[in-house]
Symmetry: C2
Subunit: 268 residues, 2 copies
């Protein structure tokens, strides 16, 4: 069996602090992004007194060249937005060489799976999964790739949603939507699981052990019952939506609970 | 009654796209950050081929000068980390004028409150709350302020936790922990509530209305029952932890549900 495809370690993506929590496999990096309703995208607009900017956005992974590729394979990250928003203006300016060419971004997806309560503040932690991607941005201009990305993004939120809506987007919608393709140059995931990790110096102290409760508070993204709009006519809630809510909610909860009994890497 | 304190609008923090969702009040901006288990912090290390970097971190608001200040008042954002991590190395280099002096960051906290399913992909959205802060970083070197921040951060995760643990941090822990104080230079929140916002062109189409379910799938951060560590001796789970889990879980769920019936600003 072939080993998992991984992102090469470089000075850019290497997990330095608590490196034993690092994971460079495409599958691990991509799964966290695929399971996150929003990702955070950072870029330098070059016009804001040197502040970088972060935006919460929907980001979905896919390959226009190889549309059947799964999360274990090389993929691009697609972002979409209103054509005249700050990030899209920056991307268009970068395509013309200003302020940098090409435009570079860092994208981060994070899921918090639990609060880790230990004996002393410094050893407190969280169970979490995060993926950090460093990438190069290109404007998607071909209508075929744009439609591919629109479908990818919509179905990335709820599988099967795109074809159940009024499609394709009309001319005005195609014009007002800008799609960005982020080529992933470097990426890594960092994952903490397991129970608290306390220092020997505290584990030896009877007074501390007898005073302080230690353990994990599981946390997970939960989903409520779908609530219809005031103008909805379709009843009952379609099965693909009900299944999505049920399955995703259960998966999230189960992950948070099973993460506790997995090995933990590193103190705190 | 005095009106709420607000961050001044500037070209840096102004919500351009769907500006009617923008909120500049200290209370709104601060509440989203205070209620987020992690924030995303972006900075420019100046050494990574021009990529910005994003890190998920714990970030808590407080005022060392005015410790009784609440979320409606001016506050600083405190971050903590291992002394030799990339962000701390960058902060120390910046204090010496390299790569920029002072170090500037963008910090974003985001909560997803629901998936907004409408008639056509372009009008799909999410109910969400996000705060974006642009700030200037200073290293905290005074032990009193460092201890203030450590307590703020620990109690910001679970109120009352700090004094229930082995404190104060010892010499090695004080040495290995670097605290950053972010002065908030510009900030704004962006909030979407309400039901889907569909275009007139789709609301007029019987075929579309009869085919596509529209509504909201509520989403919220949920908490499971606290799970004790293998070496825990304190039984039962202390009341302040049980209360935190119960109250925070209920608040999160209630927000997501009530957000649906609030007015919605802007299409999509």
């Amino acid at each position: 069996m072939a080993s998992e495809l991984s992102y090469p370690k470089s000075k850019i993506n290497k997990v330095n602090r608590l490196g034993e929590r690092g994971n460079y496999e495409c599958k691990a990096v991509h799964e966290i992004i695929a399971g996150s309703p929003v990702v955070h995208v950072s870029f330098n607009p070059g016009s804001l007194e040197d502040y970088p900017v972060i935006l919460p956005m929907i980001g979905k992974l896919g390959s226009f060249e190889n549309p059947s590729a799964d999360l274990t394979e090389p993929l691009d990250l697609y972002l979409h937005g209103y054509v005249s928003s700050r990030i899209m203006n920056t991307a268009r300016k970068s395509a013309n060489g200003e302020p940098q060419q090409p435009m570079k971004v860092c994208v981060c997806a994070t899921k918090v799976d639990g609060l880790v309560l230990s004996l002393t503040p410094n050893s407190h932690s969280m169970n979490y999964r995060s993926s950090i991607v460093f990438g190069t941005v290109e404007l998607v201009t071909e209508p075929d790739e744009k439609l591919y990305a629109m479908k990818l993004i919509t179905n990335g939120v709820i599988p099967g949603r795109y074809d159940d809506t009024r499609v394709p987007p009309d001319g005005a919608e195609m014009q007002s939507t800008q799609i960005l393709r982020v080529t992933i140059d470097h990426a890594s995931a960092k994952i903490r699981t397991g129970e608290p990790g306390d220092y020997e110096k505290d584990l030896k102290r009877e007074d501390v052990l007898n005073k302080t409760w230690t353990g994990i508070i599981p946390m997970y993204q939960a989903y409520g019952e779908p609530q219809e709009s005031s103008y909805n006519r379709v009843k009952p809630v379609p099965e693909y939506i009900q299944n999505y809510v049920k399955e995703t909610g259960e998966t999230e909860k189960q992950y948070a609970l099973t993460a506790i009994s997995k090995p933990s890497a590193g103190k705190a």
